[in-house]
């Protein structure tokens, strides 16, 4: 194993270990989307009968992909906060005083978000399954959703990390949360675009999250479809590329400004 790979995996391992050792951070970020899923499934079940609503067995089936992406958003913000905490505590300085590849400081966090996003998706599937969700796309449909969620987690985690590196403040990272959350609510994640109208429909139409979630939802309510999945994956990859570029740029700025 090359030195660089060992450094990447060592820092990724630390990011994952740290996530699981702080239940007060990751449990709320796991539970809130689940609660939202439970409440919405109960409250909006009848809406699936509306003309124009995509054919689905239940609102839970319709919503589970949204829940997974919502969970990815929550946990990725936590990853950014953890990076800020490293800067505040001086651990970041310890890292840069060692001969570690600079990119692995970001890559460690990104990999941590990726793995957590993937595992978290299966937890949400498990809970939804227990309450009657039966994915039309089967195992491969779920695997596709979990993979896209993992890439999206890594992307958002990188964006959050870039805020952390730029500001060195966990409060500033938390401050970015409403922005991302608004993006989520301005999408078709909670309701089909066909039943929206006016500016909201327009906003959801141009929101990349809508298209990403719709591609994922297709795997659950209609069946495994590579084309739909590819669109979702491309959007998640876009977030990933944007996030990683931002984080690396922020890191370079921070290192050269000292």
């Amino acid at each position: 194993m090359s030195v660089a790979v060992a450094q990447y995996s060592g820092l990724s391992r630390r990011a994952i270990i740290n996530t699981f050792r702080q239940p007060r951070y990751f449990i709320p970020s796991l539970l809130f989307p689940l609660m939202f899923m439970a409440l919405s499934s109960a409250a909006f079940q009848r809406t699936t009968d509306l003309p124009g609503f995509p054919a689905t067995d239940s609102f839970l089936q319709f919503l589970v992909s949204t829940t997974i992406i919502q969970g990815a958003l929550f946990s990725s913000i936590a990853a950014g906060s953890a990076m800020a905490t490293d800067i505040e505590s001086g651990f970041f300085e310890r890292l840069i005083a060692s001969p570690v590849a600079r990119t692995s400081i970001v890559a460690g966090r990104v990999m941590g978000s990726l793995v957590f996003g993937f595992l978290q998706s299966w937890l949400y599937f498990g809970v939804a399954f227990a309450f009657g969700m039966r994915p039309e796309g089967g195992f491969f449909g779920m695997l596709g959703v979990a993979t896209v969620a993992a890439v999206f987690s890594a992307g958002v985690g990188s964006i959050a990390s870039s805020f952390a590196i730029r500001t060195g403040s966990s409060e500033a990272v938390q401050g970015a949360f409403p922005l991302l959350f608004s993006l989520m609510f301005l999408s078709s994640g909670f309701f089909p675009r066909t039943l929206m109208h006016g500016w909201f429909q327009d906003a959801a139409g141009i929101n990349p999250l809508s298209h990403m979630i719709e591609g994922l939802r297709y795997q659950i309510i209609a069946g495994f479809n590579l084309g739909e999945l590819a669109v979702s994956l491309a959007i998640a990859a876009g977030f990933f590329a944007f996030g990683v570029s931002m984080a690396l740029l922020a890191l370079r700025r921070r290192l050269t400004s000292t």
């Binding site: 030195v3 060992a6 450094q7 060592g10 820092l11 630390r14 270990i17 740290n18 050792r21 702080q22 490293d86 505590s89 001086g90 651990f91 300085e93 310890r94 890292l95 840069i96 005083a97 060692s98 001969p99 570690v100 000292t258």
Partner: protein, 329 residues
């Protein structure tokens, strides 16, 4: 082949906006020595260390550490040095053993070697029993010892310790001093130690530079620096309600008078500390009633005071080099 000096700095300057934190530092640290960098808070110690450890670029000047330029060859410098910065920034969620292994991985050490060295270092710093506990449960002294072990995992040529005992209780401080001495003696690692405690510099360092206001104001071995200050001072206390004149007449024969507390007389002993027995005899013969006698040897605080006109902050908290003889009558 001659070994290059592990640290050579020439005209190091670092400005933050209009503030000049380091204002032209020249340093040469020789192989295998413990070099003390002593100064009060805000003197420029940590800024100098941060430049020497590649964490901060100098505004002006150059520095070579382990033979490499700190700007142009920063990566080689990082491979050659161990750094334990102020406040021991250690991840509280990980165990001591996990952190040592991570540090080894960051330095490109393979797993088998990392485990072996990690276990040996845990033993050295007395943390084997606590190795699998999360660092968040460690005391301040244990964290500093782990920090020291982490900075040694790759067997660095030069070790930077930035205020390693600030905030520690005396026992933890002495234990850490022992570790540093042992490390220097057994492996010959060059140690660059910053401290605001003169006792620490006095105990550990073979040579010392005193920094104040971003500039080095004195440099040399502790003995050389103290010798420059001059002879020891002897203070005889006769009590606030007694006449000090008889004592003054006796003491005048042993040296020049210096200002003393009320009820006391002090002189600079021209013949050194060896004269103390003669002074006691002379006082006895003159039937001077004495409450106490204090011998004040020159300390690094006196060196600092002579160089800057001020006392060193924190000097009291770290003990002093004074010796005291009390109640002879």
């Amino acid at each position: 082949m001659t070994v290059p000096d592990p640290i050579v700095a020439e005209g190091l300057v670092r400005r933050f906006g209009t503030i000049e934190a380091v204002a032209g530092v020249d340093l040469v640290v020789r192989p295998g020595e413990i070099f003390g960098f002593l100064g009060p808070n805000g003197a420029g110690k940590s800024t100098t260390v941060r430049m020497l450890t590649t964490l901060l670029r100098p505004t002006e000047g150059t520095a070579r550490v382990a033979g490499f330029d700190v700007v142009a060859e920063a990566d080689q410098v990082r491979r050659s040095i161990g750094v334990a910065l102020q406040d021991a920034a250690i991840d509280p969620l990980m165990t001591g053993r996990e952190l040592l292994r991570l540090q080894a991985v960051l330095h490109g050490i393979d797993r088998a070697q990392a485990n072996e060295r990690g276990d040996a270092l845990l033993e050295t710093v007395g943390l084997t029993g606590a190795a699998d506990r999360r660092v968040g449960t460690y005391s301040g002294g244990m964290r500093r010892r782990l920090d020291l072990a982490m900075s040694l995992i790759h067997e660095p040529q030069v070790l930077f310790l930035d205020e390693p005992t600030t905030g520690l209780d005396p026992n933890s401080r002495f234990a850490l001093w022992d570790e540093v001495r042992k490390l220097n003696r057994e492996s010959g690692t060059t140690v660059f130690l910053t401290t605001q405690y003169m006792e620490e510099a006095d105990e550990l360092a073979g040579r010392i530079a005193i920094i104040d206001g971003g500039k080095i104001v004195a440099e040399g071995s502790p003995a050389q620096l103290k010798a420059k200050v001059g002879e020891p001072t002897l203070q005889v206390t006769v009590g606030p309600n007694h006449d000090t004149l008889p004592a003054e007449q006796v003491l005048m024969a042993f040296g020049d008078p210096v200002p003393a507390e009320p009820g006391s007389v002090a002189v600079r002993l021209a013949g050194g500390a060896a004269q103390i027995a003669s002074v006691v005899r002379a006082l006895d013969e003159a039937k001077v009633e004495v409450e106490g006698i204090e011998l004040h040897m020159p300390s690094l605080d006196d060196v600092f005071q002579q160089a800057t006109g001020r006392r060193l902050e924190g000097a009291e908290g770290a003990g002093s080099a004074d010796s005291e003889v009390t109640a002879v009558q």
